[in-house]
Symmetry: C2
Subunit: 142 residues, 2 copies
């Protein structure tokens, strides 16, 4: 087994995980927001509170465009902007109550599909999957 083979297997996994992600998340997004806005909300959900510059960097969206999309999300009452009391240039973004409800619904739908996907796996399989996830997370996707 050389590294070239490992590379191919890894690409195959990345391809599969992309496909599965699509499968798990398709149509969970509310029609009220655009794909980019959903990505931003997803990021805020797992990282809040977060600053506009962090969103910009991690999602590879320019600051002007990040600002524009955050403004739209704010107008839709899905997020809240708070100004840092120490440094008043900085902002903290979090989900609003309404935004949390929306994202909870989306994540619940994803979880349901996931549970459906693994429902036929045996206890041993699930444990093996768990170990494999840990291993890849630490050794490959650090």
């Amino acid at each position: 087994m050389d590294n070239k083979d490992l590379f191919n297997k890894c690409i195959a996994l990345l391809t599969s995980s992309h496909r599965v992600t699509q499968e798990l998340t398709q149509n969970v997004k509310s029609d009220a927001i655009t794909p980019v806005q959903y990505k931003i909300l997803e990021y805020i959900t797992v990282s809040q509170p977060v600053s506009p510059s962090e969103i910009s960097e991690c999602q590879s969206i320019s600051m002007p465009n990040t600002s524009r999309e955050l403004k739209k999300l704010s107008e839709k009452k899905l997020i809240e902007k708070l100004t840092d009391t120490e440094d008043r240039r900085k902002q903290y973004i979090r989900l609003s109550k309404e935004g949390e409800i929306m994202m909870n619904e989306a994540f619940a739908a994803v979880e349901l599909r996931f549970l459906n996907r693994i429902q036929h796996a045996s206890k041993e399989d699930l444990e093996a999957i768990d170990r494999a996830l840990d291993l890849l997370q630490t050794k490959l996707f650090y």
Copy 2:
């Protein structure tokens, strides 16, 4: 360990694999094509020969838009369209010589970054990664 925990771990892996994909593929795309066109070329590369309808379905692009993008790729001489001799409504799409060169370059850049990423892993780690990839591929990402 309940399924809820496994779900969270799996989401974490999907998130990581998305991040790593970004890292491995950023800037490998030629400026001559758009992101969607690159995705299509990627799909053609691993699945050729492939029909427009397959591309449309697998990449979730409507047939009219798939047709438009394939036309553009064809005008850029990156792909070739062949009509099925049996059923003249059907087409087979493959990379042109030029398209292959472009995609080979892109894949080589990705491979280099990948090798760089695993260069410090021990032989045992690599074997463990290999087994984990196989396991996830068969048990989770089927």
